[in-house]
């Protein structure tokens, strides 16, 4: 009983966070920056931050994760980090030769008040930035928002630094939100099937799910190119998937380059994928190909074939707001009951989005976001009234073990399983994968718990 100290009695907490359901901004910025081709993320702060973010991303993706650090010392904390950052920019271009350095701040450099744009300008004056190379930045204080906020800020930074207005093209921008490389690949596949030209940014496919070739590539082949990021300012429109992670960049494109945007939920599950596909059809003025309709049909087939196994099952979820909203909607469509939903990421619209996703069908649902919304609270709720399934990141395995509840690993980080970065969970195919996993867990459970006389071959 790893969590033996947790009791069901819930006391008002004023400040404390126990077993957080979020982490801090810089790691999100680092992940987003890895989605630019030949980009080296740079952490402006102490060495530890960079080491932790690289380790966590390495564990989640099982891939090398490159990022540099300003290596703050006590002197930097007192006199500011300008000289460290200038030296860093100089060194990075001479040693690692990236096309782009994407700087994100840490709580330390934010608090001492380093002015990053000014430092970048100084680096340019000193000719530390070679021609045709770029340095971009995002402010990502760890004491504001969460890793999702950091992701959002860096994606917005891509627009601020690169997007160029101009004659409108047919292209559609898609900001995929915080999803896996496999999901980005799937979004590209759907658009390719529909014959739509897109610019997807950021795009971590072929960066964090690289094929094994026996070579180590410091800059893998994937990632959105700078040309594409520039051209994003001339696209016909932008689809922003997931409000928390993508809206800031989409709005910035709108105000900077007059590229109109539509915001929708992450295409996880049937309805959200329908909305995504339908929007693509409408804005690109194309037909939905039979191949894609067939994919939807197969998903529907699976849902109808298996509906009795989902009905009424109670689920607890935690993780990132965008993912939780779409997952909740999908679970409700499956006649499941998402009863406990927790995100550590603060955000005003989360509660109303979840309410909409629940469609009034789960009146007993408890939903909490922001401070003190953590896995400890979630566990206390579960202790009060049990659930049949947990959906969330690896940290749920303690609750899963102690309460003997199956866990579907979903979200970030997943440190103890593979597959998430290779197989999508967006689109119809992704929804089928989620169904397969949920069913597998529920049925394994049923088999394991069945007394001998009611153990069945056919289910």
């Amino acid at each position: 009983m790893l969590l033996r100290h947790t009791t069901s009695e819930i006391k008002e907490r004023s400040a404390l966070t126990i077993n957080p359901a979020k982490t801090c901004q810089p790691i999100g910025a680092m992940y987003a920056a890895l989605g630019i081709h030949r980009c080296l993320p740079h952490s402006h702060g102490s060495q530890g931050c960079c080491a932790y973010h690289r380790s966590t991303l390495t564990r989640h993706y099982k891939e090398p994760v490159m990022a540099s650090t300003s290596s703050f010392t006590e002197g930097s904390a007192v006199f500011g980090g300008q000289s460290n950052l200038l030296q860093a920019i100089h060194n990075i271009f001479s040693i690692y030769e990236p096309d782009v350095i994407a700087i994100h701040t840490t709580c330390l450099s934010e608090t001492i008040g380093d002015d990053i744009p000014q430092i970048i300008a100084t680096a340019r004056d000193k000719k530390y930035i070679p021609d045709g190379r770029y340095v971009i930045h995002a402010n990502t204080p760890s004491y504001v928002g969460s890793h999702v906020t950091g992701f959002s800020n860096m994606v917005k930074g891509m627009v601020t630094y690169f997007a160029e207005p101009g004659t409108q093209t047919k292209t559609i921008n898609i900001i995929p939100g915080w999803v896996e490389p496999s999901d980005m690949r799937e979004i590209k596949r759907i658009c390719y099937m529909m014959g739509i030209e897109i610019i997807l940014f950021p795009d971590t496919s072929d960066v964090l799910d690289c094929p094994q070739t026996g070579r180590f590539e410091f800059y893998p082949k994937g990632g959105t190119t700078i040309e594409e990021l520039k051209a994003a300012g001339r696209s016909r429109m932008t689809l922003a998937l997931g409000r928390s992670a993508s809206v800031a960049a989409a709005r910035e494109l709108d105000s900077k380059c007059k590229v109109a945007c539509e915001v929708m939920e992450l295409p996880i599950g049937l309805r959200a994928t329908d909305q995504f596909v339908d929007t693509l059809r409408r804005v690109a003025r194309v037909e939905v190909p039979t191949l894609l309709e067939d994919e939807r049909g197969r998903l529907m087939d699976m849902m109808t074939d298996m509906h009795q196994y989902f009905a009424g099952r109670r689920v607890a979820l935690w993780g990132d707001p965008d993912q939780l909203v779409s997952l909740t909607e999908f679970l409700v469509d499956l006649d499941m009951r998402p009863v406990y939903i927790v995100t550590g990421t603060p955000g005003k619209k989360f509660l109303s989005r979840i309410e909409k996703a629940l469609r009034g069908k789960v009146p007993e649902a408890k939903v909490q976001e922001g401070p003190c919304s953590d896995m400890f609270l979630l566990h206390q709720w579960i202790k009060q009234e049990k659930v049949d399934l947990l959906i969330g990141n690896t940290y749920g395995k303690y609750i899963s073990r102690d309460e003997d509840i199956p866990l579907l690993r979903y979200g970030f980080p997943i440190l103890d399983r593979i597959g998430h970065s290779y197989f999508p969970s967006v689109g119809y195919v992704g929804a089928m994968r989620l169904l397969e996993k949920i069913l597998g867990l529920l049925m394994d459970r049923q088999d394991r718990d069945a007394p001998e006389e009611s153990f069945e071959l056919v289910m």
Binding site: Q47, A51, S70, E97, C107, T111, Q212, G214, F218
Partner: protein, 451 residues
């Protein structure tokens, strides 16, 4: 990709290339893809395995989230250390200071968990906003009657090594506060083992078999009450060059307890550790028991080690560890398996470490301080190694290069210390180096090349 930066050249040596001149203990270059961490990281890894203490991280959520139960330090009892507690500082706290929040958190936590002691870690931001963490800890101590210890571990105040020192300083507040009346004259403390995959348990058992009492294990499978009594032991046995030596030194000054350095990795070093301890006590019985133990254990593992050796001998390895001390044992252990070390590096070695390492290694071996990923890749390719030994960030790099890997850091899942550990090490090296998957990559490359 360009050559190694001019400024880094003095941190890389090739044995046999002229007189000794190695620079180290330098701050990493700003802009380097360094594998190093920070002061907080150092403190956290040292104190984390004290299982019945409550570890509260005063700072924004990240520092707590990234260190939440990631090291596999096992406990035979309480599991409180595996929770993640944080004050989760927000913007308002940064503006107005986090002391009140810290106070509130401590009161709530102590009321709920009643731990044996509390460690409060200061992170970067706390150092900058200037919270008086010590004062808060003192106040809460007074009000609750619990030992609440402030760990000055602001990330930017040095390197991981400075974090070890901060942790030792925190530990020395506990040492000397317990009753030592019943402790045997044949007694010691195990310092600097973190019980990854149960290693402390194995070492403890060896000492028990020698008839020696282990007063405390600092910090693997650690207990607050044991550490309070640590000053009653007659000897401190310190593993690992960096993390615990400060505490050992302090206990020598304050309580007159001598300390010896040992390594528990590899048959030679493990045996030597037991003999050194027996010799210290100048007890014929203990020495006899140590000899018997060593003989029995080596007899048990040697046949299998020799079998493995026939498969892997002639292979080449690269080593990149956190501290330098471990590197010696690794070079020796690999030698025993017939594997030559082509390059060896550490994040935080001292001049003495590197000098000794140079003496210890074969001619031509590359010795490197604070290597970055590019250098590791370059050395790996240049020396055509079959195996890389490193930590979490090195693993996928090795795999991408198509070479075997062994985690000798905190991600190891099997114990590598002790006699049994040497066998595990050999088995892991064997499984990785001899895996058929590497041949599949080669074949693909040949096919691609021929096409």
């Amino acid at each position: 990709m360009s050559e190694i930066l001019e400024k880094r050249k003095k941190q890389i040596r090739r044995k046999g290339a002229g007189p000794y001149e190695m620079t180290c203990e330098k701050h990493s270059l700003a802009g380097a893809v360094s594998q190093r961490a920070c002061v907080f990281c150092g403190s956290r890894v040292v104190l984390y395995p004290i299982a019945d203490a409550l570890h509260l991280i005063h700072g924004p959520v990240g520092c707590a989230a990234y260190t939440w139960d990631i090291r596999g330090a096992l406990s035979s009892g309480p599991q409180l250390h595996r929770r993640s507690f944080t004050t989760d500082l927000r913007e308002q706290d940064v503006i107005h200071g986090g002391e009140k929040k810290l106070y509130q958190c401590l009161k709530e936590l102590i009321a709920y968990y009643r731990p044996k002691a509390v460690f409060v870690y200061s992170t970067c931001i706390v150092g900058v906003i200037g919270d008086d963490v010590e004062a808060v800890c003192r106040q809460v101590s007074r009000e609750t009657g619990l030992t609440v210890i402030s760990v000055a571990s602001e990330g930017f105040k040095g390197t991981k090594k400075d974090g070890y020192r901060a942790a030792c300083r925190a530990l020395s507040e506990l040492v000397g506060t317990g009753d030592i009346s019943s402790i045997s004259p044949f007694s010691l403390n195990i310092l600097g083992d973190f019980n990854i995959a149960g290693e402390t348990w194995a070492i403890r058992e060896y000492y028990r078999r020698m008839g020696i009492e282990v007063v405390s294990t600092i910090t693997g499978d650690g207990r607050v009450e044991d550490i309070r009594r640590a000053h009653g032991a007659r000897l401190n046995v310190v593993q690992c060059s960096g993390s615990m030596v400060h505490l050992a030194r302090e206990m020598k000054e304050k309580y007159g307890i001598p300390y010896i350095h040992v390594s528990y990795f590899g048959l030679q070093d493990m045996s030597k550790a037991l003999y050194d301890v027996a010799e210290f006590f100048q007890d014929a019985a203990a020495m006899q028991k140590a000899r018997r133990l060593v003989r029995e254990e080596i007899d048990r593992v040697l046949p299998e080690l020799m079998r493995i050796r026939t498969d892997v001998q002639g292979k080449k390895a690269g080593i990149y560890t956190g501290g330098a001390f471990k590197a010696f044992s690794l070079v020796a252990s690999l030698r025993m398996l017939g594997i030559r070390t082509a390059f060896v590096g550490s994040q935080t070695g001292s001049p003495d470490d590197y000098k000794r390492l140079e003496e210890f290694c074969d001619p031509g071996t590359i010795i490197v301080d604070d290597a970055n990923t590019m250098e590791l890749v370059r050395f790996s390719q240049e020396t055509e190694i079959d195996l890389l030994i490193g930590g979490v960030k090195e693993r996928p790099v090795a795999y991408k290069l198509g070479i075997g890997f062994c985690d000798h850091n905190h991600e190891r899942k099997i114990s590598l210390a002790g006699f049994e550990g040497m066998l595990h090490f050999a088995q892991e090296v064997h499984a990785s180096v001899m895996s058929p998957v590497w041949k599949l990559i080669d074949r693909k490359n040949i096919n691609v090349g021929n096409a």
